[in-house]
């Protein structure tokens, strides 16, 4: 029994993990805007709250409940 029988499946599992991460990030729209994040990286942090939402500007949240109007 060669070590290959363990290593090949292990390497395939690793590759599978990488693909899973890619699918996850692509589905969240992280590849939509490739221009701004490299610019944003250069900005100094000033202890401002971190952006919670990642993904494209055009993202539409999945649950499209009706918007509540503010009390007039």
């Amino acid at each position: 029994m060669s070590v290959l029988f363990i290593l090949v499946p292990v390497s395939l599992l690793l590759a599978g993990g990488a693909v899973a991460v890619f699918v996850w990030s692509a589905a969240r729209g992280q590849f939509e805007d490739l221009d701004t994040p490299p610019l944003r990286m250069l900005h100094d942090d000033e202890g401002l709250p971190q952006t919670r939402c990642i993904g494209g500007v055009d993202d539409v949240p999945s649950d499209s409940t009706q918007i509540k109007h503010s009390p007039e």
Binding site: S2, V19, V23, A27, T36, I67
Partner: protein, 826 residues
Amino acid sequence: MSSLAVKASEACTHCGLPVPEEWMREPSGPNFCCAGCRAVYQAIHANGLEHYYEIRDAGAPTVGLSEVDAYDELDDEKFLDLYCSPDPTGAVRTRFHVEGLHCPACVWLLERAARNLPGVRDVRVDFGRSRLRVIWRPDEIAISEVARRFARLGYPVRPYKSSEQAAQVNREDRRMLVRIGVSGAVAGNVCLLAIALYSGAFQGIARDHENLFRWASLILSIPAVWFGGGVFFRGAWRGLLARTLPMDLPISLGISVGFLGGAYHTVRGFGDIYFDSVTALIFLLLIGRFLQRRQYRRALEAVEVLASVTPRRAKRVEANGVRVVLVESLAVGDEVEVGAGDVIPADGELCSGESHIDLSLLTGEARPVRVAEGAELLAGSTNLSSRFRMSVRATGDDTRIGRLLHLAQDQVRSPVVQLADRLAGWFVAVVLFLGVVTFALWSRFDPSRALDHTLALLVVSCPCALGLATPLAVAAALGKAARRGILIRSADLLDRLLEPGVVWFDKTGTLTESGLVLHAWLGADSTRERLAAVERQSQHPIAGALCRGVEGRSCAESVIETPGRGIRGVVGGVEVAAGKAAFVEEATGSDLPREWSEHVQAFLARGWSPVVVAEDGVVVAVAALGSPLRAGARSVIRDLKSRGWEVGILSGDAQGVVTRLGEALGISPDRCLGDVTPEQKLVQVRSEIESRPVVMIGDGVNDAAALAAASVGIAVQGGAEASLLSADAYLVEADIHGVLEAMDGARRAHRVIRKNVLFSVAYNFVGASLAMAGVLGPLSAAVLMPISSLIVITHSFRAHTFDPERNIAASPEESPRSRLAVGSLS
């Protein structure tokens, strides 16, 4: 005797606007138009960032005060429904299009500027597409306040809605990206395993190791074929249902034959496996498709944003004053105030006041129309001179403009079969035929190798390069076109522009600018100054054209304007009367002298509006006003004709004006159609489209239906955003040279495609022959396949389809103005 030279004023060092006289310092040093620009300039210098002025490509954005005040309508209750989508946290998301975004510092500034406002949860900028997303709470802050903050910084923002179509494209895009990722990972790993197998074939490999690698390749290939290759299987199936032989068919055939053959050999334990070729093929083809899609998507998005930007506003008259609301919340019966320069928000009837309106967008009529009480008003026209109130009769889709846009949406045209798809049909037939021949021949000579050789043939002639040939060339051409200011959003525009046919131009806004300018001035400069002093007191659009470019501080007294006829006043003791010939005749008490009336006739014959000027009862000057030709119109039409296109004008403007413009541009009179309604434009385009390609170029809503129905509709910048959505291409610059560039680009792109196709067919021919002869082994096929694709990829991206350096030099333009100055005036 004429001097039309506008005195060149110094431009503001920061923003590029003219510097007012009282702000002028020394001509060489920095000069500013206002205190704001000077402050920004000083701030930039104080921080040692002067480099900004060297690297920027345009003047800094300027903020008008009106811009700052212009966001009241965003607080309308309807805004939430129309422009916001709910966020899971209970806040809402609104997207804005940002103007003036040009450097990383802008991103920094915008993202921080509004974050400390109460109620604003998050601000995020998409630099590449000039967009901004704000997450905010409607119960804590008014969005107009946020928008105003951006505008004050010099970044005017406009909310926009994205259509369901754009969201759909977006979702498909992500799915495509996932497919590429999966197929790429699979292809990489399978190729690694293949290297082990190939070296094992030369150097020897343990039997169980070889089996392990073969099985691993088989299992890895399954997701790539099933998930990544699904695109091609579905495409092939759809094509077969439509009774055509689509490009996807040979691809699917190659993939499935290669995969099934490989699987069969894996199970059997010997024979070649083709998994490396198959997965690399899927990966490369998907990338080609993705690049092409992305270019279309970019163009689609750019145009959509342009078209949906700006919620149009209306000033509704309510019990407690005038309130700014969204056009969408207007109802029939509302009373609306329309200020000078405003766009009329709904169809209706004028109820108090009078003004001039510009209908050119809707009808093509270039001259301002006078309206008084009771006049019918159409949404989309512009109020030119003074404020009035109107009562709303129809809104939204029920207005004339709404109906015209619906008419445009209903146009469908027959799809054009692309070159590669036409070839694909033949290709499939030939490959299948060769496969049968190979199998039959080898069965007779060596039955044990018949299946191997047939498989080798099918895999080597899998049209990888052929499949990449068109999408890549098209994607490269579209990307380059976009950089040249031509946004192409229709898949087959490039194919439709190849054969010459008919080009119809809209007149107002396309061949000519939509405003009025002074074409000719016969008279003394001093008269012109006095006339300008009088006209400065008038709101009439003609007055604006007469004042433009005239310096002078003299002031007119006792000005009396007779609407629709003329104006009179006293300047420095001289009594000036100007207007229509009849008005001046009345003012001077005598008929127009013959020499002047000849000039008036000459101007009328050119389609210009003459204005006669009298001083102290004597006629001293005649001015001619008209819409100026767009730069390059003449040379574009000449070039189009030399390429074999027939050129015509379809305009809603008066027949006489159109005929004379046609004469000036060298268009035959029977192709100069004036007084045409939008519906007639549509009929005209439809009547010819059966026999030859019809290109429609226009800018207004009145062209929208014709743009949509034509083989190729090209919208020109400066018109109504709404007409953009019905066009196949959009020229970002107000320069119809883009039409020629699009045609040249289409021809070059087509040449690239042809070369690509030719190469890949030649490759396939050689490969297939070798495979049939039994010469080509799996190793050489695996090497040949990516090389052929690489050649096609390089050729597509290096080809000069829409390159700036091959820009057609604009020939010196002989404008009617300069011609006249040389001819009749000297």
